[in-house]
């Protein structure tokens, strides 16, 4: 066939890309592929249709999945089935396993033995998003209260009551599905069993019938055996010269006035119980007393930053409604007060220390919002120096750029986590600020870092405010501990994400919001059985925004297989890529970048070679045979390898890379998917509710006469071809002339035509799907800005030396062949 697809009846769907001997204009290999190898030009080239087979596959796979799986709800009752792709719209019915919105696994059939797992090299991991938001048509996890004695748990492994607990002896005892231990059923929880051995109340109890639910935690689950206080939000606004001048201070203060009405709450009717506090700072800190009884706010300056302390107790953290007048007066005055500041130096460490002290004093958990502009060079703990050195890029010392400058912030984050103090950092840098170091505390406390380089009020206001609004409002838990329990045979061995671990099993999260994921890698420590499969239970103990202590439990059962083919048939490439990228990005801290990249390539080659060797029917060596589930592995892998973090272009700063590195560590699968392989939509007929079919990310695919929308998860580009139809331009921009299009547009004009309306709808819907607001850039063909846009055309050769997809595929094929021979 033209697509090069053929069927292997034994092994299900396989992808065979036929690579034949021959000559091609593309025999120039990117230099990076020649490392230590023969300089002899490879004799393989793609001899398929001009468009390149594999890319059609990328789009095809997504479209197929969408077509096949979005109509029926995905039910989680069947063990071991691969969920629809993240790009597919589907509904989930919880029938005993956690929804893929909470947990996605790299493989849903996991090898029975460690040897088999090792042989395949397929990573066994789960990407868990414990507090994920569900679409409106899916019910959020039910809350279960087991009374004063707390949730029912296995006596030995302490797993929580779940559908995999087997009740025996007429319901008087249950056997743990994880460790097989027998536990007596407490009298108040006793229930008779029916003829099939199931409890009669099975269907009435979420913990016996669903994959995800919540327990109300008792006082035993609380710090110091004391029920928690409602959390607090503290806003720290940098008021140094740069921050004021960029307009940030003004915008933040303006916005907070309305934003404070949208603090998170569980009951939309009630007022939020989250208390708020305000601090401004440059090289000293200004705390504000906004007690409701005051006629005007009071400012308290702490200039002894070497030894931070909280200067006031009463009136610092207040209820918004009580103190509204004082707070508004304060927010009105802050921009005025510092309008003429000439202070350019800032501190950073003491700011976090101050927030920590405040939460300690109030004996509550909470979140700090830091709006910060510059490298903290003022004399204070945590003072930093400019160490950006582009010469280190590409050398073995490159890793030092990603490591924090000092241990100060690591120690500080330890204290923050102990208190449940989550730090969100909004950066507005004009130059190097050392994100690698500044990000340590946010990353370790479950916080987020947002970065607005060269912030300009007019241009970046929308993006920043939307991010801020979402960040303030989003549902989250505080002072959380996550524990992943597994059935005997496998064990959670490694964790990735924004958190802190003081031992090997407990993931401590000062804050955990609905967008954060924790990726867990599993390894065998014994044999698994095909009969029982494997179980995992992820339990997150947290304080809700209303101050209630809760336990969220997600259960997941997968099949175990003794045949490699089963493994390869039930993998999920997007999740594998998510895991690989996180693994690679973390390795950068300790390993030279080149080694990291080589390791990635090598592991993928082994995965594919193992398949070829063990599962595929014999075929000629010139054929590249990919498992059906992994046929996109090479294209995605290439994107990971070419990403700014692993292969930076000359214009990518160390801060940008550190920022992206941290950002990726807690991305879920759908975000990482679009992050590595952006979505490129040709804007042709935009009628009906459906989106136009995406095209592959390659310049070849852009037509001079078209307009394209590209979504990367962080940015939106509207590429306008030089010969775009006048009608199209009129519909979008209100002008038929290419030259009259303003390249500085950040939002499209609201025109009264169906095309414009639909386009804006699409943009809005894209934005609403992402945790961060995507700024829209209009890119005119052959404009300077086109370089930035082209950077995201990931199937093409990149300016920084990244291989084109086809080249990479050839390389991959060669690697596989080498492994096989």
């Amino acid at each position: 066939s033209e697509t090069g697809l053929c069927r292997d009846t034994n092994l299900g769907k396989d992808t065979k890309t036929i690579l034949q001997h021959g000559r091609s204009p593309r025999t120039q290999w990117p230099p990076s592929f020649l490392n230590g190898r023969s300089l002899e030009p490879p004799r393989l080239f793609l001899c398929v249709s001009k468009t390149g087979v594999p890319s059609v596959l990328q789009i095809q796979v997504i479209e197929d999945d969408r077509a096949n799986k979005s109509s029926e709800p995905f039910t989680t009752g069947v063990k071991g089935q691969t969920p629809p792709l993240v790009t597919t719209n589907f509904q989930v019915k919880d029938q005993g396993n956690a929804s893929p919105r909470f947990i996605r696994c790299t493989a849903y059939n996991i090898p029975c033995t460690a040897d088999m797992a090792k042989q395949s090299q397929v990573p066994l991991a789960a990407v868990i998003k414990p507090l994920a938001m569900l679409p409106p048509d899916e019910t959020r996890p039910y809350i279960v209260d087991h009374g004063e004695a707390g949730p029912i748990r296995c006596n030995r492994c302490k797993a929580y009551m779940c559908p995999y607990m087997q009740f025996i002896e007429g319901g008087r005892r249950f056997q743990c599905g994880f460790c097989s231990c027998l536990t007596d059923v407490p009298p108040h929880y006793f229930q008779h069993l029916d003829h099939s051995g199931k409890r009669v109340d099975c269907c009435d109890r979420p913990e016996l019938s669903l994959g995800s639910y919540e327990f109300v935690a008792t006082v035993d689950y609380c710090k110091n055996n004391k029920l928690p206080q409602p959390p607090s939000f503290i806003f720290f606004i940098d008021v140094s010269y740069n921050a004021v001048k960029s307009g940030m201070v003004n915008i933040v203060c303006q916005e907070l006035k309305t934003l404070l009405d949208y603090l998170p709450r569980e009951n939309p009717e009630a007022d939020s119980v989250v208390r708020v506090g305000f601090v401004t700072y440059n090289k000293v800190l200004h705390f504000y007393n906004v007690k409701s009884s005051l006629a005007q706010p009071q400012m308290m300056v702490v200039s002894d930053v070497s030894d931070m302390f909280l200067p006031l107790l009463d009136g610092f953290l207040v209820n918004v409604n009580d103190s509204r007048m004082v707070i508004e007066s304060l927010l009105d005055q802050i921009p005025e007060m510092f309008a003429d500041t000439r202070e350019t130096e800032t501190v950073f460490g003491p700011v976090i220390q101050a927030g920590l002290e405040a939460l300690k004093a109030a004996d509550c958990a909470g979140k700090l919002f830091l709006f910060h502009s510059s490298l903290p060079i003022a004399e204070a703990p945590g003072k930093l120096k400019n160490r950006e050195d582009k010469k280190l890029v590409g050398t073995d010392k490159e890793k030092s750029l990603f490591q924090p400058q000092s241990g100060f912030y690591s120690n500080l984050s330890k204290e923050c986590v102990a208190q449940g103090c989550c730090v969100d950092l909004f950066l507005f840098p004009n130059q190097y600020v050392d994100v690698a170091t500044l990000g340590v505390v946010p990353v370790s406390t479950g916080g987020s870092v947002y970065k607005y380089t060269y912030f300009q009020a007019e241009v970046d206001r929308e993006r920043f405010l939307n991010d801020l609004r979402r960040d303030v409002q989003k549902p989250m838990g505080f002072d959380a501990v996550m524990r992943v329990r597994t059935s005997t045979g496998i064990r959670a061995t490694d964790f990735f994400g924004s958190f802190f671990m003081s031992n090997t099993t407990d993931v401590e999260l000062a804050g955990l919001d609905c967008d954060k994921t924790v990726t867990v890698e599993f390894r065998h420590d014994d044999k698994l059985s095909e009969d029982t499969g494997a179980l995992m239970q992820c339990a997150v103990l947290y304080t809700s925004c209303s101050g209630q202590r809760r336990l969220r439990v997600h259960n997941m059962a997968v099949n175990c297989c003794s045949q490699l083919a089963d493994l390869y048939r039930n993998c999920e490439t997007d999740t594998i890529i998510n895991f690989f990228s996180k693994y690679a990005y973390r390795s950068l801290l300790n390993t030279p970048t080149k080694t990291v990249r080589d390791t990635l390539v090598n592991q993928c080659a082994q995965i594919l070679a193992c398949y070829r060797k063990n599962c595929a029917s014999p075929s000629s060596a010139g054929q590249l045979i990919l498992p059906e589930c992994m046929k996109l592995l090479p294209v995605y892998l290439n994107c990971v390898l070419k990403s700014d973090v692993l292969q930076p272009g000359a214009d990518v700063s160390v801060d940008d890379r550190a920022y992206l590195r941290q950002l990726l560590s807690c991305m879920d699968v759908s975000e990482s998917h679009v992050f590595f392989y952006p979505r490129l939509l040709p804007l042709v007929k935009l009628d009906g509710g459906s989106l136009p079919m995406a095209v592959r990310n390659s310049e070849e695919r852009l037509s001079k006469g078209g307009v394209y929308l590209l979504e990367t998860g962080l940015h939106l580009f509207l590429w306008v071809g030089a010969n775009a139809q006048q009608e199209l331009l009129s519909n979008i921009f209100g002008t038929p002339t290419f030259s009259q299009i303003d390249p500085n547009l950040t939002s499209l004009p609201e025109l009264d035509n169906p095309f414009s309306q639909r386009l804006r709808e699409i943009i809005n819907s894209f934005r609403s799907q992402r945790s961060r607001y995507m700024k829209l850039m209009v890119v005119k063909q052959e404009d300077k800005a086109e370089l930035i846009f082209k950077h995201f055309l990931c199937e093409d050769k990149s300016a920084s030396g990244g291989a084109s997809y086809v080249d990479f595929l050839c390389h991959m094929h060669k690697e596989i062949r080498q492994l096989l021979s």
Binding site: Q296, M300, V301, S303, D307, P311, L313, S329, Q333
Partner: protein, 802 residues
């Protein structure tokens, strides 16, 4: 020639000087035999409303080592326009401005009635007055409210140009920025840390006054210096009033069994540092208001555990006061920084328990600041006293003066041993300085940061003239006191007092020396020495020293036959002196029993700065009696001649005789002996100890009062009797600073102990002769009475073995 008492009174009136001897022994050897050294009590700013300040500057002796000021004692050659310095004999040209001088046209400073004269220095800018309030917020709401009101009131008493600042403290210390609109700002510091001036300057973002501002030279009056923390009252009056109004109790929680954390030591350090950075060498008052002891940080005097009480004298003797030494050191360092810059530290301590005055005393003592001790800020004792700090004189200027220095110049025959009073040494060596130090010695200049009209220094001299070097006929020993200070108007002023005394050869003219003895001044001068020693030495040692001095004085100037105590006679000029010593020995200045360390420090503080009259009251309280008429009571002063002097004619009114129709007059108040025999049932007593004004109702009077006779119209006279001491007490209460504690008690009342502890215990349970008689009240004490004391003294004085 006037009598010595007249001479002494006249000198005191005119110059504010009283010498122990008014004729001086002419040799070192003889002087040492006089027991009481040649010394003076000097009140630099003695109130002289009739003395007009002179609008030019003093003329100085041109000799660099002398620089004495032209005075009436100088010899002047009007024709040659020359004057001879009476201290160093240097002949000096008059300055050109004195060209018109002649024996009929003399400048004021040459006229004898201007032996004390005040010059106004015209150079230099007018300095603003600076008042920095340092306010404790760890106190009960009621106290804080009262304190806030007092502070707000005080703003109205300040001149509009005065600069004020506010520091509040509790667990944290807040330095308030003044005059902020819309939002009130303060800089907050941790109370556990001591910051030096440089750190503070950085943290507060302060800049020192530029050289031009601080420099000398004629300058147009400029806008007063100010900064964010210290601003003119007129500008921030409202703002500060509001700020004070909003002041809250320290919000940090205090757990059961703990004291609030009070960062007093750091707060004072910051106050001192703030002024040090902004107004060095300018008059400034740091007014510290405290409701309890410092419990954390530098200068803490007690831990925050309530179960560990604050140190007592007992702890100190046992070396068990673990914070005392370190705390004292902290405050001493602060006192030294403040005094170097001419800043005053006042302490207003209002608490029922001790607040650490013992440790902090140097802050007030070294800077001339006030120390006020009361039970609560709600008491009138505090309110009135604080208000009285801002009293103004007839010209409308504050009675307080700032940043003073006292320089003393002497004739060649005497040198300065030292001074005792609220001053610190400026370490100015010179030809007038003796090697024998008494008090703060080794210098001829002292700094007195805070002065008022009563501030009195004791200055001790040493006669250095050798025995074989006769003093020329008619030669006089002269002393010149030059006091430079900042007047409350901002002017710099110099007050010069020049005084001289005759020399006499003790061998031949001992009688005239003895006749010149000023026993009151001497008693105070010796008392200051004793109290000064008591601060560092063991109590019994000081008492022994004091006794020895008294015995030696008796031996030297008494008239007696050896070994015959009955023959001992003292001349009139010495007659009261032993009695003063008797009461001094019993006074809280030397006895710590029954007083907390804080109280002792407080009493000593007052004693060391008050003038002679007040000091005498402190040593020997005054007792007045009020009763219905009878023959006026005869009161005689105590002379050393035996029990006869103790007998006082008593008149009593029988309870039964008090009837409506009997005409009973209230006698005028009569001073009575400070003796237990003065305590009679039908009397009301009024005792003034300086620190307390006590009204004591005798047994009968108090019964009448309880019966309510004063309410009845027919017993109006009784009402008058009750009212009379109250009125008199009010009069004292109104004029005294600090305001005394007012006690109204009666026979058997618990507060009567104040009276019983002061009176001479002539009747005790040990000498039963007075029991059952109506001749006074026995005191339950083992203390010796004056009579026993005198008997012993006489015995020892006449003893040939001594």
């Amino acid at each position: 020639m006037a009598t010595f008492p007249e001479f002494i009174a006249q000198n005191e009136e005119r110059d504010g000087v009283r010498f122990s001897w008014n004729v001086w022994p002419s040799s070192r050897l003889e002087a040492t035999r006089m027991v009481v050294p040649v010394a003076s009590l000097f009140t630099p700013l003695k109130e002289r409303p009739e003395l007009p300040p002179i609008q030019y500057e003093p003329v100085l002796c041109s000799r660099v080592t002398c620089r004495a000021v032209l005075n009436p004692l100088c010899q002047v050659d009007y024709r040659a326009k020359l004057w001879a310095c009476n201290f160093c004999y240097q002949r000096n040209q008059f300055p050109p401005t004195y060209a018109g001088i002649s024996d009929v046209n003399q400048p004021a400073e040459l006229l004898p009635q201007f032996s004390t004269i005040e010059y106004v220095v015209q150079r230099g800018p007018l300095m603003p007055l600076v008042f920095l309030y340092v306010v404790d917020t760890c106190m009960e709401d009621e106290d804080l409210q009262a304190l806030k009101e007092s502070l707000q009131m005080s703003l109205s008493l300040l001149p509009p140009t005065a600069l004020v600042g506010l520091i509040t403290f509790g667990r944290m210390i807040q330095v308030h920025e003044l005059g902020c609109e819309g939002i009130s700002k303060s800089y907050v510091f941790r109370g556990t840390k001591d910051l030096n001036a440089k750190q503070l300057q950085e943290m507060l973002g302060l800049t020192k006054p530029t050289a031009a501002q601080a420099g000398r030279g004629p300058q147009a009056p400029q806008a007063p210096l100010s900064n964010r923390f210290l601003q003119p009252v007129q500008k921030i009056d409202m703002n500060l009033t509001d700020l004070l109004g909003e002041l809250q109790r320290d919000p940090w929680p205090v757990t059961q069994g703990k004291r609030p954390l009070r960062s007093l030591g750091s707060a004072m350090s910051i106050a001192v540092g703030l002024l040090e950075c902004t107004f060095p060498n300018t008059g400034a008052r740091i007014m510290t208001f405290i409701g309890g002891p410092a419990t954390q940080g530098p200068g803490m005097v007690v831990g925050d555990e309530l179960k560990a009480p604050i140190r007592s004298w007992h702890d100190i003797e046992k070396d068990n006061a673990k914070f005392m030494k370190k705390g004292t050191k902290h405050y001493e360092a602060l006192a030294s920084r403040a005094s170097t810059n001419g800043h005053i530290i006042d302490i207003y301590a209002c608490a029922l328990d001790q607040t650490g005055l013992l440790e902090m005393k140097c802050c007030s003592n070294h800077t001339g600041g006030y120390m006020v001790m009361a039970d609560s800020f709600t008491t009138s004792l505090f309110k009135q006293t604080f208000q009285r700090v801002f009293t103004k004189d007839v010209s409308g200027a504050f009675k307080m003066a700032f940043a003073g220095t006292l320089e003393i110049k002497t004739s060649r025959e005497i040198k300065i041993s030292g001074a005792i009073g609220p001053c610190v040494s400026l370490n100015a060596k010179g030809p007038c300085v003796s090697e024998n130090e008494i008090g703060t010695g080794g210098t001829s200049q002292w700094k007195i940061c805070g002065l008022d009209h009563n501030t009195t220094l004791a200055v001790y001299f040493e006669v250095v003239n050798q025995h074989n070097a006769p003093i020329p006929q008619g030669g006089r020993g002269a002393v010149q006191y030059v006091t430079q200070y900042q007047h409350s108007s901002g002017q710099k002023r110099i007050r010069v007092t020049t005084t001289a005394r005759n020399w006499a050869d003790a061998g031949t003219q001992i009688q005239s020396i003895a006749a010149s003895f000023d026993q009151e001044a001497s008693a105070i001068l010796m008392a200051r020495l004793a109290v000064y020693r008591a601060e560092t030495e063991e109590g019994p040692d000081v008492l022994r020293w004091l006794d020895r001095q008294l015995i030696r004085l008796c031996q030297k100037f008494g008239d007696y036959h050896k070994d015959d105590p009955n023959s001992f006679r003292f001349s009139e000029t010495f007659s009261l002196y032993p009695q003063f010593m008797f009461h001094l020995r019993r006074s809280p200045f030397l006895q710590v029993f029954n007083n907390s360390p804080d109280e002792s420090s407080y009493y000593r503080h007052q004693f060391m700065r008050q003038d002679l009259t007040q000091s005498l009251i402190m040593i020997q309280p005054i007792l007045y009696a009020y009763s219905f008429n009878g023959p006026p009571e005869c009161v005689s002063t105590v002379v050393c001649s035996g029990p006869a002097l103790l007998s006082v004619q008593i008149s009593t009114v029988d309870f039964n005789t008090l009837q409506t129709d009997s005409v009973v007059h209230i006698s005028l108040k009569r001073p009575v002996l400070l003796d237990s025999s003065s305590i009679l049932p039908d009397r009301i007593l009024l005792m003034d100890t300086f620190f307390q004004i006590l009204i004591y109702h005798g047994e009968t009077v108090s019964q009448w009062r309880k019966a309510g006779y004063q309410e009845l119209p027919e017993y109006e006279n009784f009402r008058h009797l009750l009212q009379a001491p109250v009125d008199d007490a009010q009069e004292i209460l109104h004029s005294r600073f600090p305001m005394p504690r007012y006690i109204d008690t009666e026979h058997g009342g618990s507060q009567a102990r104040f009276l019983l502890s002061k009176v001479n215990p002539s009747q005790t349970h040990n000498n039963m002769y007075a029991w059952g008689q109506e001749s006074g009240a026995p005191i339950l004490t083992d203390d010796v009475s004056l009579q026993v004391f005198m008997d012993h003294l006489k015995k020892l004085a006449v003893s040939s073995a001594a």
